[in-house]
């Protein structure tokens, strides 16, 4: 039973990693850039929702606060691309990566200044409630995380592979010039992707904060989500989820059964192993150049 309990909580935290990784993959799939601030986006999303709904702050109804927070994050994402990244259009990805690193620092500072550096929990209607299934106690928060993550991944997967807009997003990442030749408004599409990833970050943040406390440095979780995205194969949405779950499971298991200090290293060890044996990740999307 203990083992199953461990698995369930591992799955839940894996889902959070997966959600953050989903944000990376969205941006990467559609713009080929890596958003190092995705973890901080998540943190900000959590704080916005928390600021709207917690009794210490505005005290809005939770079900009202969640969509508002998601919309605010989407707008922020859009504005970041529109106001900052658009000046960098066509520049190398390294520059964009560095921009996002810098933004992460600024977001962390902003969050600390606005909401303090103390860890806070999001007050959710399902906090502290659980059901017991044959000896296994499942928290409502854990169930919510798993269900929402699965639905979101599925929805995004369908969006990217079935809809015209989703296809256009992929097209504009693979060849910006050709996408323009097709009449795809590449810049606006990129802004939309940033909005989308902002919304996903908000969802991830809300779920994360409902499960435990959050503070401005929570964004550093993003680094583990990187490992998740890379394990899954950086351009693959289901890959991000699978990668997140792998990391979520490895962590508690290696902490329980491994040597002390090993659980810190294990996720990255797995990442390196995956990259060595499958350089493009589990759901590899790379292709050999044809000459």
């Amino acid at each position: 039973m203990d083992f199953i309990q461990l698995i369930v909580s591992g799955l839940a935290s894996g889902c959070v990693y997966g959600l953050i990784a989903l944000g990376f993959v969205l941006i990467y799939k559609a713009t080929e850039a890596v958003n190092f601030a995705q973890g901080d986006f998540m943190m900000i999303g959590a704080f916005i929702c928390l600021g709207l709904t917690n009794q210490d702050f505005w005290g809005l109804n939770f079900w009202l606060a969640v969509p508002i927070a998601i919309v605010i994050m989407a707008v922020l994402g859009y504005l970041f691309d529109w106001g900052v990244l658009r000046f960098m259009f066509g520049q190398s990805q390294v520059s964009i990566v560095i921009l996002t690193i810098a933004v992460g620092f600024i977001l962390r500072f902003a969050a600390g200044t606005i909401w303090s550096h103390e860890p806070v929990s999001l007050e959710t209607p399902f906090a502290g409630r659980d059901i017991s299934l044959g000896g296994v106690v499942l928290g409502f928060d854990e169930i919510a995380i798993i269900i929402v993550t699965l639905l979101l991944t599925l929805a995004l997967f369908i969006f990217f592979s079935r809809t015209k807009l989703g296809m256009a997003m992929q097209a504009s990442s693979q060849n910006q010039l050709a996408a323009y030749y097709m009449g795809i408004p590449v810049k606006r599409i990129q802004s939309l992707v940033w909005a989308l990833s902002g919304a996903v970050a908000a969802v991830a943040g809300i779920l994360f904060a409902s499960k435990g406390a959050i503070d401005p440095s929570a964004g550093l979780l993003g680094i583990k989500a990187f490992a998740a995205a890379a394990i899954g194969g950086f351009g693959s949405l289901p890959g991000a989820l699978v990668g997140g779950l792998i990391i979520g499971l490895v962590e508690p298991l290696s902490a329980r059964y491994g040597a002390p200090g090993f659980s810190q290293i294990a996720p990255y060890g797995i990442l390196i192993l995956v990259l060595v044996f499958r350089p493009g990740g589990l759901f590899s999307q790379t292709q050999k150049k044809k000459v």
Partner: protein
């Protein structure tokens, strides 16, 4: 519309364009009339590709105007130009390598929403290039060079443009396919009334299907005339068609005959 041949679709005035500090086009003026096939000839590096890119908004001009059906479009985003009915089919390999052939072709119709007509056009493209139909589930990046060129052209057709800019459609294609592609261009022009602006190294074929031609050298237009007149001109024959007037001496080729416009 009673006299379509006098209707100017595309008019370029005194266009200048730079690659960094290098002036690639130096004051080009030309016009394309509705229903025409206009070809631009010139050696490599003459600025033909840059000209097309500047027209379609992929590059920003420094000076001058580009008018599409009377409206100035210079310096606008390429997607806005496409929305106005002008499609640029680029040279080389500007495809989406990780998407399938079918998805690439579907992207060609991005600006359209008439699903039934899109399906018909897709079938039309497949009928032009059966090999693409055969390979439609294959990632486009794994096609051979010539097949990618076919894909680029087929995809360009999907936008149902009023005017097409074609940059070296025959690049890397077999003689048979080259012939077929020019047949398709002629048919589109005759049947669908698509106006064409064609840049092509294969000057003989280009002139044979074009109504009007321009010759570019070092970023300038140096000759402009009816295609037939150009084809008969001594300089064009010598430098673009490879026909020499007298028995050729190899020495003459290496120490080039001076072009009269230089």
């Amino acid at each position: 519309m009673s006299t379509p041949s006098t209707n100017v679709v595309l008019r370029i005035d005194n266009l200048e364009s730079y690659y960094g500090p290098i002036m690639a086009i130096r004051g080009v003026s030309l016009e394309v009339r509705e229903g025409q096939i206009v070809t631009v000839l010139g050696a490599n590096g003459a600025g033909k590709t840059t000209l097309l890119k500047t027209i379609s908004g992929v590059m920003d001009p420094e000076k001058g105007t580009v008018k599409l059906q009377g409206e100035e479009i210079q310096g606008s985003e390429p997607n806005q130009v496409v929305a106005r009915g002008m499609v640029h089919v680029p040279e080389g390999r500007e495809i989406f390598p990780l998407m399938t052939v079918a998805e690439n072709i579907a992207m060609g119709a991005y600006t359209r929403s008439d699903k039934q007509a899109i399906d018909e056009d897709t079938e039309l493209v497949y009928s032009y290039f059966p090999i693409l139909k055969e390979r439609r589930m294959q990632a486009a990046g794994t096609l051979s060079g010539g097949q990618q060129q076919m894909l680029a052209i087929g995809r360009g057709l999907m936008a149902r443009p009023r005017i097409m800019l074609l940059d070296e459609p025959s690049l890397g294609l077999s003689p048979l396919l080259t012939e077929e592609i020019f047949g398709i261009i002629q048919r589109l022009n005759a049947e669908q009334k698509v106006t064409m602006m064609l840049v092509e190294q294969n000057a003989a074929v280009a002139l044979s299907i074009a109504n009007y031609g321009y010759v570019m050298e070092l970023g300038r237009i140096v000759m402009a005339d009816d295609a037939a007149t150009l084809a008969a001109s001594k300089d064009v024959q010598e430098f673009y068609l490879g026909i020499s007037q007298e028995e050729n001496q190899r020495g003459q080729r290496r120490w080039k005959q001076r072009k009269t416009w230089r």
